[in-house]
Each structure stands twice: as structure tokens, then as C-alpha cells.
């Protein structure tokens, strides 16, 4: 408790006192105690097993139990049920948090119950006659629960981690999407409370088993999904790194291009699914290099027409490999066109300006940026500022200025971890330096073309 800011301490005390005062004020008579004990037990069980609804938010299936309590045992009963959160089975949960959670859920339960009663709902096991009249007050109770819950939790988050003054401006105001992704499931789960209450009349406590079982199966399916997603990411990363093992200098290139591409995509506010696709395309953008003979990739001097053509082919070879990955559709273009230039002098198609798909314009900038900030056999890594300077220089001719600006903003805000300087292992002696086709300052060209 001591390490909390003073304002947060006061806030928590006020909430706890408020909740306790509500209970003491009573009246506690008339609450069906057996039902209350069973509900509190259910609340305790469900609160001990949180269900993730998205990658960043977790919603407890305790919400339907809390709302069922508001109907079955009234506002005060719901408040008492909420207090069961104090003894919840979660390890690393400190006492202050437990007490606050209990008080906060108690208050939210009380408000839900009070809303329900004020709007004409009768606390107790609902009968067939109560339907459908019971639905509007119940939905209002769900809304009240979710609002009170959000306000109380939001307050404590705001006081313990006050946002820096510039944060709002920089992020472009309040972000609604995360809020919606948390609140919508709360509303969806909340309606299940009415089922528990209604089924209570027919099958007693077994109601909770019937209602919560599908919920836990949904949770199981979601866990499976998250695990598979992780496994998927890890597998793609491993395969991309395998493609790079041969070349000592470009190791980790795919991971870093993937990261920088995602940074740019987020910065220009692509939709989450597109950011994900661009991230993967960034990872896979150079798999086609395997199809280019090693001696051409490693050649130092001027390239012949055929050799340059072989290099120019690598985006197409990459496309050939990943074409069948269904969900990449949007990002496939990013892999194929990541060496196009805004002025139309790139390859393989010589597209210009807006003809180049935006995912390709993103990857092009990320690709060049990582190439410049990494060590190559013919030069040391440049620092980030130099690389940014270089990107600015080619902005508008080689690169899309929008993407360049986005990368610069993102790097200035979040920083960039350039790779460790590479020291070739003993025994690896290169008789000739290997030029990197991604390095914008080199301008790899076929011999004939560069004279023109």
C-alpha cells in the first residue's frame, strides 16, 4: 500500500468505507441466506478463473453471477456476494488489491441491484409471470454494473499510473476501441445473469453449471486459439531465420523488418488485421532470396544484366512460395513489390507512386532502414540518426514520404534496437565483400544501366 501514490490510497479507502457503510446500513433482513451462500461460492469459483476475451483484456465469468445475485438476492445481497472477491484464489494478488476488488465488486453489485429494484424489478427467484417485464430493468442493471465497474477501476488506474500530459494529444485523444472491446463482452456476459436467475426456479443451483459450462468451453477454445497463434508466430520466425542462416550478416533481418513494418503500419493507423498481415509480410519479404544463386548475392563488383535480373526476380520467387497462405492476400502484394520505387525506377514491375500497394511502401522503408542500421561486410552499421538522414534524402524518389515520416515518428517515440555489431566467426574468410541489395545508398545496377 505504501508504494501507491497518496491520492490512490485515499481513493481506495473511500471506496472500501463506502462499500462497508452500505452493508452496515442494511437492512439485512429478508435476504435468502442459503441462496446467497451458494451464489457467493459460485462468484468465488468464477472469479478465480478469469477468461481472456482478447489479447489484452480479461473478463471474469463472475459477471453473470454478480448480475444473477442482483436479481435473486437484491442489492444488499449482491453487495455481499461481490465481497467474495476478497478471498479469490489468485497467487500474486496483494491484500490491498483484494480488498479493493471486493469493495468495488460489492458496490457495482449494489448499484446493479438498486437499479433493478428502482425500475420495478422484484428481487427474488423470477417466475414465468415476471417475463418479459423483467427484461428492461435487468438490462438497465447490466448497464449500471458495467458503468460503475468501469468508473471504479478506471479511477484507480488513473490515480496509480497518471498519464503524462502529452499522452492524450499524442495518441489522438481517447481511444474508444479498447474500451469497446472490454465493455461489449461485459454486456454480453451480463445477459447470462438473467438465465441463471430464471433457471434457478427450475433447477436450483444447477442453473449455474448449465450457464457457465459453455462459458468455460469458450474460454478453452480461446486459450487454444492464443496458444496456436503463438506457435504460429514462432514457427514462421524459425523458418525465416533458417532461410537466413547461410548469410552471417543478414541474420535477424526478417525479424527486424517485420517489427519496423508493424511500427509504420500502426503509426499510419492501418486496421489491426492489416497491421498483422504487414507484420508477417515483413517477416517473409526476402524468402525469395533463396532462389537467387548464392554467388550472385555475394558478388562484389558490377553485376551483369543476367545477374541483376536474377536479383530482380527474388520478390517474385518469394511470392511463389507464400502465395498459398490464404489470409496473407493483402500482404502478398507487399512481398512482391517491396523493391518498387516511388519514381517508378524499382523492380520487378516498375510501378510508381500510388500504383505501389501501401503494404509494399511500408516494407520498402522498413527494409532499407534495417539494412542501413546493420553491419555489412563492406561497411559498419550506421547509427539511427544517419539512417534517418539517408531515408529523408531518398524520400519522395525511392520511398513514400508518408511511410518515411511514420517510421521517423515511431522510432523517435519508441526507440529502435539496432542489432549488435556482427563479428564473423573465426574461419569464415570472405575474399570479397558481399553487397546488400537492400542498401539504398549502394544502388545496385546492371552494368549497362548505370552508364545510361
Amino acid at each position: 500500500m505504501r508504494e501507491l501514490p497518496r491520492r490512490a490510497q485515499i481513493y481506495i479507502c473511500v471506496i472500501v468505507v463506502l462499500a462497508l457503510a452500505t452493508i452496515i446500513r442494511g437492512p439485512l433482513s429478508g435476504i435468502p441466506w442459503m441462496t446467497l451462500v451458494v451464489l457467493a461460492l459460485l462468484f468465488f469459483i468464477t472469479e478465480s478463473l478469469p477468461t481472456p476475451v482478447s489479447d489484452r483484456a480479461a473478463v471474469s465469468p463472475s459477471i453473470p453471477v454478480a448480475l444473477a445475485s442482483a436479481v435473486l438476492v437484491g442489492p444488499l445481497g449482491a453487495c455481499l456476494v461481490g465481497f467474495a472477491a476478497v478471498v479469490v484464489l489468485r497467487r500474486n494478488l496483494i491484500l490491498v488489491k483484494r480488498v479493493f476488488n471486493g469493495a468495488q465488486m460489492g458496490l457495482a453489485g449494489y448499484c446493479a441491484g438498486a437499479t433493478f429494484t428502482v425500475l420495478g424489478g422484484n428481487p427474488g427467484v423470477p417466475q414465468a409471470d415476471d417475463f418479459p417485464g423483467i427484461v428492461p430493468p435487468f438490462l438497465a442493471a447490466v448497464a449500471a454494473y458495467s458503468i460503475v465497474n468501469a468508473l471504479l477501476v478506471g479511477g484507480v488506474v488513473l490515480l496509480t499510473h497518471p498519464p503524462s500530459p502529452g499522452a492524450f494529444k499524442r495518441r489522438g485523444g481517447l481511444r474508444w476501441r479498447p474500451l469497446v472491446t472490454v465493455e461489449l463482452p461485459v454486456l454480453g456476459y451480463g445477459t447470462l445473469g438473467l438465465f441463471i436467475a430464471a433457471l434457478w426456479a427450475a433447477v436450483d443451483f444447477f442453473a449455474a453449471v448449465l450457464v457457465l459450462l459453455p462459458l468455460y468451453i469458450a474460454r478453452w477454445a480461446f486459450d487454444q486459439y492464443v496458444a496456436q497463434q503463438r506457435a504460429y508466430d514462432a514457427t514462421i520466425a524459425a523458418l525465416c531465420q533458417a532461410v537466413e542462416t547461410k548469410d552471417y550478416y543478414t541474420r535477424g533481418h526478417c525479424m527486424r523488418v517485420s517489427k519496423a513494418s508493424a511500427m509504420i503500419a500502426t503509426e499510419i493507423r492501418m486496421r489491426a488485421e492489416r497491421v498483422e498481415a504487414v507484420r508477417l509480410a515483413g517477416m517473409l519479404h526476402d524468402v525469395g532470396k533463396l532462389g537467387v544463386p548464392t554467388k550472385v548475392l555475394q558478388k562484389s563488383g558490377p553485376l551483369s544484366e543476367e545477374e541483376f535480373a536474377a536479383i530482380q526476380l527474388h520478390p517474385m520467387r518469394g511470392l511463389e512460395i507464400v502465395r498459398e497462405i490464404g489470409f496473407l492476400d493483402d500482404a502478398l502484394a507487399g512481398i512482391m513489390h517491396h523493391h518498387e520505387r516511388i519514381d517508378g525506377k524499382g523492380y520487378p514491375m516498375g510501378l510508381a507512386g500510388d500504383e505501389i500497394p501501401d503494404s509494399a511502401r511500408v516494407i520498402a522503408v522498413a527494409d532499407a532502414f534495417d539494412s542501413m542500421t546493420s553491419t555489412r561486410s563492406y561497411r559498419n552499421a550506421r547509427d539511427v540518426d544517419e539512417a534517418i538522414e539517408e531515408l529523408r534524402r531518398w524520400s519522395g524518389t525511392q520511398f513514400d514520404p508518408v511511410m518515411v515520416d511514420a517510421l521517423i515518428r515511431a522510432v523517435e517515440r519508441d526507440g529502435w534496437r539496432a542489432p549488435e555489431p556482427v563479428v564473423p566467426p573465426a574461419g569464415v574468410v570472405r575474399d570479397h565483400p558481399q553487397l546488400d541489395h537492400d542498401d539504398p545508398s549502394l544502388h545496385l545496377r546492371a552494368v549497362g544501366e548505370s552508364r545510361a
Binding site: V53, P126, Q127, A128, F131, P132, V135, L187, G188, Y189, T191, L194, F195, A198, L199, A201, A202, V203, D204, F206, A207, V209, L210, V211, L213, P214, L215, I217, A218, A221, F222, Q224, Y225, A227, Q228, R230, A231, Y232, A234, T235, I236, A237, A238, L239, A242, V243, T245, K246, V287, G288, L290, G291, T294, R317, E320, I321, V322, E324, I325, G326
Partner: protein, 423 residues
Amino acid sequence: MTRAAASPWGPLGTAQFILIVVTALLVAAAVAGTAASGFDRPDVALAFGVLIALGELTRMTMPGNRQTAPIAAAWALGYTLLLNVGHTTVGHSGLQVIAVTALGMAVGELPHIAVGRAPRLDALARRLITVAIVALAFRPAADDLRPVEERWMIVIVVMVLLVGFSWLVDAGIAAVIRAESTRVRIGVAFRDELRAQVPLGLAIGASGMMLALSAGVMGLVALLVFTGPLLVTQVAFRRYAGIRATYLQTVRALSRVTEVGGYVETGHSRRVSRLALAVGRELGMRESELLELEYAALMHDIGQLSLSDPIPGGATVLTPAEEQRRIAELGAEVIQTTGVLDGVAQIVRRQSDPYLGPEQEDAPPLGSRIIRVVNAFDDLVGGSSDQDRAASVTDRLRLDAAGEYDTRVIEALDKALRRGTPS
């Protein structure tokens, strides 16, 4: 995993044909019977019919190419087990349940058919049969189970037993169909089907029971309120099925890097994986083991990426044993870095180890032995589909088997080749 029986209107297996004909007759009888006796509570029937249609609209494909419509199944089960709506009892017959479900499913399929996603008839028939079993057994007994409040424990036990029984029958039918189309053993297929059904089946069963019981108190409002939570569950399963499919697709696609790099012959990884799966099925491997085998087969040559120069022709069978083992080890290391595919890495690591017979200590896993045989076979036969050449290569493998290959695997390969590999 299996890609057999892809075309819904194409040639059907015997079991599928019988199933579809029986279901069609059942539906015809149900519709005719209900039409003759008149619909009990047409409003309730209509509400459930519409919801079943909507559920059918959101059908999805779970891993293993299993087409399911969990929301439609839950609504149909709810209608089957319905005892009261509000104060009034409902007395619809089992035949009416079948008729309403069939009509709802048909209407829900129309938009799918309109956009060219025709349903798999056998999956459709199975969904209907599962409902029919519960309906025909439960509806006649419905009168004895009311009022629910007084005997809710009996009601629940009856419901659970009936639903469980219908699952067993469904898994049995699915196993027979799968065994027929992919040559997997029936016992193995039955256990696979049961395992695959447990999570969704539990969710559908609990939802259906809850729906039927709560409608007794809440009336038809229950149907509306319940749509949200059902969708949440469905979304979770859909995302899971989606990532599983993408995963396999991606590994299949990326297994081609060795081909594009000129390390192996074109199509090698895919041919090996297809044949390895056929052999694995022949040897009675479970679905989860087959998935690991498929991943391992697709990536078995990934270690070659670490070689500075491709092996001429890419045929690992002709390279010295020491080199083969090094490639296997390098490949296993790559796969190990994923941190999740340890079983696959183990199969790849041991793929070039000799097999000395059943008494060998620390023998390579079955998956490795299969890949070793199939890889050698493909290296020697290549993309050729010449039967005689395949037979002579199999004979050569038999001769070389002592101290090298698992003879059981070679025999299984021979059988799989004779049957023709499932495409």
C-alpha cells in the same frame, strides 16, 4: 487433415450414400407426418426454425475438415428438449422436431449455396440424425417429465444420457465415413471423432438444455437473449479453427523454400508428406500423431538450408549417413527454436537413424521411421507415377531393410501405394 471427399456432389462412399438416403427418407416421413397431423404451436416452431436457419448460416469448418453448425445444433437441441414455454406446455412430436430442424437447415443453407459454398451432404445428414435420435426418444416421454420443478434431477439425467448417446452414434457414423474415405482404422477414427467432438459437444449440449429449461420460465424471450453468448462461444471456436488452418497452410507453403532454393526436387516435401500420412493411417496412428507427422514430413529437409551448397539432385538417400544425420540435426534445431513443436523436432532429428528391430533400445519414433522409408522411396522414384517403378523401388527397400528400415513401415507403404494415395 484429410482432403478426401472434397466434392459434395461427387462420387460418395457407400456409408455416405446410405446415411444420406436414410436421412432423406426420415425427413420426408417427418414432413409428411407433421403436415398430416398439423403443427403443434406453430409460433414456437417458427421461432426455432428461424433461429436454426440463422445458426446454419454461421456454420464453420473445424480442424480435420469437420463441418459443424454449433449454433443451429444448440437451437435444435433446445427445441427438442423443450417442455414448457412460459406457463403453457408444448407437445410437439419427435417428427415435428425433425421437420422443423430440416426446414430450418435447408433455409439456412440457401445463401451458402447461392455463393457457391455447397454443404457437405454427409455432415448435414449427421447433424440431422443427431437431433432425430434425441427427438424420437425424448418427445414421447415429455409428458412424464413435467412439472420440471418437482423432478429436475431426473429431467437432467434423462437429458444428459440422451444427448450423450446421440454423440456416440454420431461419432460412430463419422468414423465409418472417415474410415471408408481415408483408409484409417475404424477404432482409431471413432476415438478421434469423440475427442474432436468433446469441447463443442459439451458447449452445444449445455446450451441446448439451458435453452429448453429457461424457456419454461422466460418464454420465447430466452431465445433472443441467448443469441449473444452463443455467438461469443462461436467466435472463439471460429478463430481457433482459422488459425489451425492458416498454420497448416503456412507450413505447407514454406516447406517449398527448400525447392525454390534448389536443395530438393520440386514437390518432394509435399509428396513425402502425403505418402507419409497414408502410411501413418495404414499403421493406425491417431489424428494428433498424424498432424505431427505431417509437419515433420513437410519440414524434414529444412536442415539443408544450412548447407553452403545444395546436394546435387537434392536426394538425401544418396549422401553419406554422417551428412544425413547432420542435416537432420540442423533441421531439428531450427524446429526446436519454435519452442512449441518439440514432438516434430524429435521426429525430424531421428529421421535418418537406422532401425534395428523391435528389440532396439532407444529406437527412433514411428514418425521418423515412416519419414525415413518414404523419403528414400521418393528420392528413388521422384515425381514419377509409374506403377512398375514404384514396385521395384519398394522391393529394393525390402532388400535393404535389415539394419536400416522398419519392415512394418515398408509393408504399410506397399499397401498404401496399391490402394492409391488419397489425393
